[in-house]
């Protein structure tokens, strides 16, 4: 099966990595969701909560796919290994990069970091909304809009202690810091794709957009 190929052999027409539809759907879905929730909408809004749940589903699907998916989508194809990641970065600086059938070692670390941060963001978001599904949020908002403020009281919990408030504040901080970390990781990821694409002299974006582009005839 596909052994790691050198740059020399890619010129002959060896297959660059190809991504299956699940990897591509979850990748772009998560990208769009993170961008929407970090930049475009307001925290706590119905849209924000809905997108949060969607991103949780996307993350779950990608993680399931990391166990059940085809070879290059499975975690076993890109184990987190800081040593090889650093080696890869050094090769990248030297301009001589191996071709990997899945994520390269640095990209793999990035993927795991991204997923972990995403999990933190969704978990803290769930805490902040009390685990309310978008349907419940919508119901609450509708109730408040129609003048029934009891929903707010029930949510706030009449006798919320100082401890609860400070915990909530901490979680809010975590949610925000982790969200910013996501944007930072995304920027790093884009920079990595550009540099790697230059060095490998092929587009890394095309396979992620279109999937199998092994023979461009």
């Amino acid at each position: 099966m596909a052994t790691p190929r050198t740059l020399a052999s890619t010129a002959v027409g060896a297959s660059p990595s190809l991504w299956d539809p699940v990897v591509r759907l979850t990748h772009w879905g998560i990208a769009a969701s993170v961008l929407t929730n970090a930049v475009l909408d307001e925290g706590g809004s119905l849209l924000h909560v809905s997108v949060g749940w969607i991103v949780m589903a996307l993350l779950v699907l990608r993680l399931v796919w990391g166990v059940l998916g085809p070879a290059e989508a499975r975690f076993s194809a890109f184990p987190p290994n800081p040593v090889t990641a650093v080696r890869h970065l050094r090769q990248l600086v030297a301009g001589r990069v191996r071709h990997y059938p899945s994520h390269n070692p640095a990209g793999a670390l990035m993927a795991y970091a991204f997923w972990a941060t995403l999990a933190v963001v969704t978990a803290s978001g769930l805490y902040l909304t009390g685990g309310a599904t978008p349907m419940q949020v919508a119901e609450e908002k509708a109730a408040v809009a129609s003048g029934d403020w009891s929903a707010l009281i029930a949510e706030g919990g009449g006798e919320s202690s100082e401890e609860d408030k400070s915990l909530r504040h901490t979680v809010e901080e975590v949610h925000e810091v982790a969200a910013n970390l996501l944007l930072l990781l995304a920027a790093l990821h884009i920079a990595g794709v550009i540099v790697e694409g230059r060095v490998l002299r092929r587009s890394l974006v095309r396979p992620m957009l279109l999937g199998d582009v092994r023979r461009g005839k």
């Binding site: 299956d20 539809p21 699940v22 759907l25 979850t26 879905g29 749940w53 969607i54 949780m56 589903a57 996307l58 779950v60 699907l61 399931v64 796919w65 059940l68 998916g69 085809p70 685990g131 309310a132 599904t133 978008p134 349907m135 419940q136 999937g211 199998d212 023979r215 005839k217």
Partner: protein, 178 residues
């Protein structure tokens, strides 16, 4: 790359559709699981909760089986792709070897290959920038070197290999190069 794209695009469409289905299924399941956990906190003993928990378990199983099925489809498509490439490579190896065994000149090899691909004399002449008479003469030499009566038998010479068992009394072929 002439006939396989149809099969390939059909396969790609199938996997894309299955993936989108799996995604929607996961979305639904995550929402449902969230709802069930909410119910669990309220009243875990109720028939409502038990029913929903069973449905959720079915949904989760559905995702797992869906993912398995999708993986198998993707791997099957890739295996077919690879087999097709191998078959193509193998056939062109056989053709190359046979051309060498017949001692065809480079020009004759080219013409022979184009003829095998189904081009007629006029097309071959145009492609090679040669006169039709030249091409016809080359084809005749190829047929005589191969010991076949004409184009049909020439093409059949290679197809016969792919058909395996073959006709009971087919002794038309000469010795194949190993």
């Amino acid at each position: 790359m002439s006939e396989s794209p149809d099969i390939r695009t059909a396969g790609r469409r199938q996997t894309a559709a299955l993936s989108i289905f799996l995604l929607i299924q996961t979305l639904g399941t995550v929402f449902f699981v969230g709802d069930v956990i909410g119910d669990l906190r309220e009243d875990p003993g109720s028939a409502h909760f038990i029913f929903e928990a069973v449905v959720t378990a079915a949904l989760v199983l559905g995702i797992i089986f869906g993912a398995f099925a999708l993986r198998r489809t993707i791997e099957l498509l890739r295996a077919q792709d690879q087999a097709l490439a191998v078959a193509r490579g193998a056939l062109s190896d056989v053709i190359e070897g046979q051309f060498t065994a017949w001692a065809l000149t480079p020009a004759e090899r080219d013409v022979g290959l184009l003829a095998l691909k189904g081009l007629d004399v006029a097309e071959i002449a145009e492609l090679r920038g040669a006169a039709q008479g030249t091409v016809r003469a080359q084809l005749t030499r190829i047929y005589s070197k191969a010991g076949v009566s004409g184009r049909a038998q020439f093409a059949a010479f290679f197809v016969e290999d792919l058909l395996g068992a073959g006709v009971p009394s087919a002794e038309a072929s000469t010795v194949k190069a190993g």
